[in-house]
Symmetry: C2
Subunit: 221 residues, 2 copies
Amino acid sequence: MTEERKISMAVIRRLPRYYRYLGELLDNGVTKISSRELSEKMKVTASQIRQDLNNFGGFGQQGYGYNVEYLHKEIAKILGLDKTHTMIIVGVGNLGQALANYPSFSKRGFNLIGLFDINPRLIGMSMRGIEVMDIDKMEDFVKTNKVDIAILTMPKTRVKETAENLAKWGVKGLWNFSPVDLFLPEHVHVENVHLSHSLMTLAYKINEAEELDNGNDYKPF
Amino acid sequence: MTEERKISMAVIRRLPRYYRYLGELLDNGVTKISSRELSEKMKVTASQIRQDLNNFGGFGQQGYGYNVEYLHKEIAKILGLDKTHTMIIVGVGNLGQALANYPSFSKRGFNLIGLFDINPRLIGMSMRGIEVMDIDKMEDFVKTNKVDIAILTMPKTRVKETAENLAKWGVKGLWNFSPVDLFLPEHVHVENVHLSHSLMTLAYKINEAEELDNGNDYKPF
DNA sequence: TAGATTGTTAATCGATTAACAATC
DNA sequence: TAGATTGTTAATCGATTAACAATC
């Protein structure tokens, strides 16, 4: 029995950035890089980069550094980008349409195979060669097609119920854009994009900086 | 001289969730709540809630708990939601339009005052009562209007230069939706929304779960 | 007053950084 | 071989959780 090394999400969330940066190096014809060089360009410590990578194996070579192409590929494997994933979008409003038109997803093996909405004016329309279907047809669709990921870009009132149904029908991942917390069985993975939270965080940063400029600490009373 | 209590971003990023949840309680007519009750509903520890809040002051009352309305308002103040913020959107493609139509921003005091694009087919169009302007007019606009936040939803090739210009022209916060790292003077605050990173993280979770199901650890060789 | 729950200090846990032996 | 840089252990730092005295 191999030992369980539970890797923290803090590590995982840094990998896409490494991956992106290595992709840029690759495009620029760079073949090798050391953790120190990488750390300087990415403004993290070299130690962190080496620790992060060594959670998954020794990808470098002492005295040399890392082969860019190899490391790039290995990170892809860790993240599961060497596999293809099927996706549906539930709620084809502005945001849903924006995501449907995102070209870089399919490049990374995320293939959109279905669009669903409740709005009769949208049903039957075609985007990226995919017809928008009535949400009533979703259960059938999900059960007959293998759907890995459902993108939830619908009004928040219907998200909880929809998420629970999708989980029941075998969808493994939910990419949730609603300001709603989903508590689902642990075999269903949820990734939240809380845009309003992100904006509030930005407001905090701006606000805090101004208060410090004015020489004021935050005073509750 | 008041002491410097540098509050970590980990704490700040939890506040919007508390804020949202308290708002829901408020809508449901709940007037008081204890840290324990809150912790059970939000699936965090009561200790963490109390520690987080006590970074900013004592908002509760021993033996009673927290007044929902008061705490909700105080968190708003901490995040700077008691002030209004002006925003412009730079790049009115699918995602920019989606954000322009997001109703909840203005509810929280984030007011959209300008839309900019490079595409002649979009320039002159009107969204939410705001005309899309040529990006050439942006410098003038930013310098004559007080712009707090610029939402960057443009192609990544032009983001770096645009961000540097906006910083120079006095914009305090950038909400960056491009897969680009911005290194700017520290008085300019950047909040990144890296959708592709988020999706890759979801792919990892799905993938990892399957490998564990199959009894496989990740094997690099 | 007795019971409840905060505010806050102390203990624990986990993540990051530093250091260096291994090795290419 | 000498120099460089990894992989990995040890030290530090920070964040979370536990405990409890203060107090409403």
